[in-house]
């Protein structure tokens, strides 16, 4: 590390990184468009101008992304010259920008807006006609390009060249006529296209899925972990008005995913947004239909059913957290049963970048706890021979597949699921929160912990999985229900 002076303070700077990285590491803001820490610096947008004084040379305004760190350099991000240079640069960037912020999906998280607000000038001095380019150019299934909004930072071009290493975008034409395009207008391919919408500092590249779905300031953002594979990419879950998940976006994690995530994970909110949620619990009525009940009553029914026995098959969902797994182990040891979890076959999404092809986000965590991984076929066979069964966790029914429907209705089967498990064998369904509604830990393929965080509340009447399990455990041990306060649903 090298010592430099930043805004009058001495800081440590990594000499292998450009100056802007040192400034950002100090959490001092410096505007940037073309610079991105995950991509090679090109120094073309010229917005990151700061004043630098080295040795006896007079102070100069330079771009921080292409200036090497040198011992003793004196950097001022707030000098008059630096402010003026950035203000001028912003005026040029806005010269042809359509300023359609009211209908732009990026509004609210657009750095062209932010920096203009911070340092730009309030008055536009151009009376010239603005560039007319394509406003709605499809770049494939994922991305829509608005060429008028583009400020040509080329982050998207470099992303495909440097991260998935499949160059697909180019800057074509020249000068003020430059546009971003795919070669010969071919659609973008690959599982990492969505990242360029995050990278785009303006609203030029937007996700077709997110277009006009929400104003970003209405989204509540919570840190979490992706559920789609055993990489467990760090993500942010973004929920609109406490209801639907509108976006999953990558969150920087040096050990796991860097700045990126795959499109499979990015758009995997189908289950989380599913309308057919089990809002409380349900038990099989005498006529064969389902009757909604309080979870407390459902737990009592489980005891009465006699499903909690040593020869019951206990099957966990691969989405179970480590904490839930521990609680389930308690229950299993109380019963004397052996726990396993459904392990769906590896899919063909495995790549060299992030996706592991293993759809179990917590395989490592559950295996380490002592859960046995088994295929759906194997487990359904075991289920067919067992007198009782306990299925625990979100999507466990779906992952076990069609084999479940063939089970005899004489079997005593209890499911802790997000959805009603409407199969003949099922007797009791207890609603549990899904992965955007609960907290806990998954352990990824490399043994790195990832926290999942609640981005919204589970439906009222749904208890935490750990609580349901501990109540069940108590029911096994005591043989009698612990008194519960009314209204203590969560």
């Amino acid at each position: 590390m090298t010592k430099i002076i930043l805004n009058g303070r001495e800081i440590e700077a990594d000499p292998k990184q450009p100056l802007i990285a040192a400034i950002h590491a100090d959490e001092t803001p410096v505007p940037h468009y073309c610079y991105h820490p995950g991509l090679s610096p090109v120094g073309s947008c010229r917005i990151c101008q700061v004043e630098v004084k080295q040795g006896e040379m007079p102070a100069r305004v330079v771009v921080a992304c292409r200036t090497p760190v040198a011992a003793g350099m004196v950097v001022n991000t707030e000098s008059e010259g630096a402010h003026k240079a950035r203000k001028e640069c912003l005026e040029f960037l806005l010269k042809n920008h359509p300023l359609d912020c009211p209908i732009c999906d990026k509004a609210g998280e657009c750095t062209l807006q932010d920096y203009s607000f911070d340092e730009g000038q309030g008055v536009g001095r151009s009376v010239e006609p603005r560039r007319k380019l394509e406003k709605r150019k499809s770049l494939g299934d994922v991305i829509l390009l608005d060429q008028e909004r583009c400020i040509l930072c080329s982050r998207c071009v470099r992303f495909f060249e440097e991260v998935p290493k499949s160059p697909q975008l180019v800057v074509s034409q020249r000068g003020a006529h430059s546009v971003i395009e795919t070669f010969m207008d071919r659609p973008l391919t690959g599982n990492y296209q969505g990242n360029i919408a995050d990278l785009c500092p303006v609203g030029a590249l937007t996700l077709k899925e997110f277009r006009f779905e929400a104003r970003v300031w209405n989204l509540k953002k919570s840190a979490s972990t992706c559920a789609e594979c055993s990489r467990g990419c760090a993500i942010t879950t973004e929920v609109l008005r406490g209801k639907s998940v509108e976006r999953f976006r990558p969150r920087y994690d040096a050990a796991k995913n860097g700045y990126w995530m795959c499109d499979t994970g990015r758009f995997a909110w189908g289950h989380a947004n599913s309308e057919e949620r089990l809002a409380g619990s349900a038990v099989r009525a005498s006529g064969g239909g389902w009757q909604a009940v309080d979870t407390a009553d459902a737990i009592e029914s489980v005891r009465d059913l006699g499903a909690l026995r040593a020869d019951a098959v206990v099957i966990a969902s691969p989405f179970l957290t480590v904490e839930e797994g521990r609680e389930l182990l308690e229950l299993c040891s109380a019963l004397g049963a052996k726990p396993s979890f459904v392990s769906p076959p590896a899919n063909d999404l495995k790549d060299d970048l992030l996706h592991t092809g293993d759809p179990c986000p917590n395989r490592r965590g559950l295996t380490d706890l002592g859960f046995e991984a088994a295929t759906a076929e194997e487990l359904c066979e075991r289920l067919a021979q067992a007198p009782a069964a306990l299925l625990v966790g979100e999507r466990v029914g779906e992952l076990l597949g069609d084999g479940l429907a063939e089970l005899s209705d004489a079997k005593r089967l209890v499911a802790l699921e997000c959805h009603l498990l409407d199969i003949p064998a099922a007797d009791i369904c207890i609603g549990v929160p899904n992965h955007v509604e609960r907290t806990g830990t998954w352990i990824n393929i490399d043994g790195i912990e990832g926290k999942i965080g609640p981005a919204r509340q589970a439906p009222s009447g749904v208890w935490r999985t750990t609580r349901v399990l501990s109540e069940l455990c108590a029911a096994v041990g005591a043989g009698a229900r612990q008194p519960l306060a009314k209204g203590d649903a969560r």
Binding site: E88, R125, E128, R174, G175
Partner: protein
């Protein structure tokens, strides 16, 4: 007109572009001498430094010093290159064309001496795409020289080996910028690279590279033959030797003339170019091509050398003097120039991409009679946002500098355009048409 000349002396005979013609005039003696004596490259660099030779591509950087930036080959084993910049595209500049077309062997010998001096393995000659005959002549010269053992393995039986390749540009001005040229040679878009790293450390394909102008290297054989002291007898103390002045515009005899540094612009205009045409008065002139500041006629007695031209707020550039007579409209000529830079901006840097277009649009509007009083100040402020050194390369400066100079010297004429809602110089018939 009684000064020593040497640059264009061989030109005029029918076969000046052939090996025979060149050899008859003493060609390749400098190279042969160096190889025979096994001259120490460090010695040659000192000789070039002592000569005071400065680059003729526009910046006027000392050539010997530039050569010395190449890393020591004993410590740095990478392949080394010279890129000869023959992408002469600055409006007004046409001097290298003469050398390539009429004296290509002189250019080649200069390249080979530079290659020997910097222990370079290959020279790439990047020729402007429109230069068809010069390209052909240069290619023929290389073929002839190769046959004669002057290019390729073991030149003239020595242990000096140097390949020479040619490349034809595709018509972009920006490929004349040294790093844009290297990108283009590598087969990429001609986008200038940010510096550092500098070409001497990270140039063509990441190898040590020096980019030189044609006329610069053309001087080397003369310096080797006659010595640095002789070279310093011409020109001024800080700008030594002769230079090729391409004078164009409203003059009687536009052309390329060899003159010593320090000669006044008036001498070039009157004694060489035959004065302003049609008996008119001079109004303004560009000393060194369209990217240098426009100066009014009153500066015509300025000496043509780097420091004197800098003293009048312009640049020596490539010594491509463009003369405007009294009938010329500076707004119109500014628009022509601004449009050129708008067209040629590569589009990487925000200021240049948007600024060159904006300047062009404003000049166009003022010339068309739609100027606003605030436009004059806007031109100045936008130009200050584009220069100096605010972008990766100097194209942004090249557009801003003439704009600033035109406002500085001809503000009244621009304001008259705004006031009259059109060009006050245009004939009434033309204005109403």
């Amino acid at each position: 007109m009684s000064h020593e000349t040497f640059l264009l002396d061989r030109i005029g005979s029918e076969d000046s572009h052939t090996l025979d013609g060149y050899k008859r005039a003493g060609g390749y003696e400098a190279l042969a001498g160096i190889l025979k004596d096994g001259r120490d490259p460090a010695d040659l660099i000192e000789e070039f430094k002592a000569s005071g030779l400065r680059g003729r591509g526009g910046a006027g950087f000392p050539t010997g010093l530039k050569f010395s930036f190449m890393p020591d080959p004993a410590k740095d084993k990478r392949t080394r290159y010279i890129a000869l910049n023959a992408d002469e595209s600055e409006p007004g500049t046409c001097k290298d064309r003469v050398l390539l077309r009429e004296d290509p062997h002189g250019v080649l010998e200069g390249c080979l001496i530079a290659a020997y001096t910097m222990r370079v393995q290959a020279v790439y000659i990047y020729v402007r795409g429109e230069y068809r005959v010069p390209y052909q002549r240069m290619a023929e010269a290389i073929a002839e020289a190769r046959k004669a053992g002057l290019v390729g393995k073991e030149v003239l039986g020595s242990d000096f080996t140097c390949e020479v390749y040619m490349h034809k540009g595709a018509g972009a001005y920006i490929c004349g910028e040294e790093t844009g040229l290297m990108e283009s040679l590598e087969g990429k878009r001609g986008h200038p690279r940010p510096k550092p790293p500098f070409p001497a450390g990270f140039g063509l394909w990441g190898q040590p590279t020096t980019v030189n102008n044609v006329e610069t290297l053309f001087n080397l054989p003369f310096i080797v033959n006659r010595g640095a002291d002789w070279f310093r007898t011409m020109g001024t103390e800080k700008s030594t030797g002769n230079f090729l002045c391409g004078i164009s515009g409203h003059v009687n005899k536009p052309g390329v003339y060899e003159v010593p540094f320090g000669i006044t612009a008036r001498t070039i205009l009157e004694d060489y170019a035959g004065g302003v045409w049609k008996g008119r008065e001079l109004k303004a002139w560009f000393p060194g091509g369209s990217s240098t500041g426009l100066v009014p006629a009153s500066f015509i007695d300025t000496a043509m050398d780097h420091d004197s031209i800098k003293g009048i707020g312009s640049m020596f550039g490539t010594a491509a003097m463009i003369m405007l007579d009294e009938t010329a409209c500076v707004v119109r000529s500014s628009h022509v120039i601004a449009r050129f830079y708008d067209h040629e901006s590569c589009g990487q840097c925000s200021q240049c991409r948007e600024g060159t277009q904006w300047l062009s649009q404003i000049f166009e509007r003022i010339e068309a009679g739609q100027g606003r009083p605030q436009d004059v100040e806007l031109l100045v402020e936008l130009s200050h946002g584009m220069t100096p050194g605010k972008t990766i390369c100097a194209l942004s400066d090249a557009a801003a500098i003439p704009t600033l100079s035109v406002v500085k010297h001809f503000r009244a004429e621009i304001e008259a355009h705004v006031e009259h809602a059109g060009c006050p110089l245009r004939a009434p018939a033309e204005a109403t048409a």
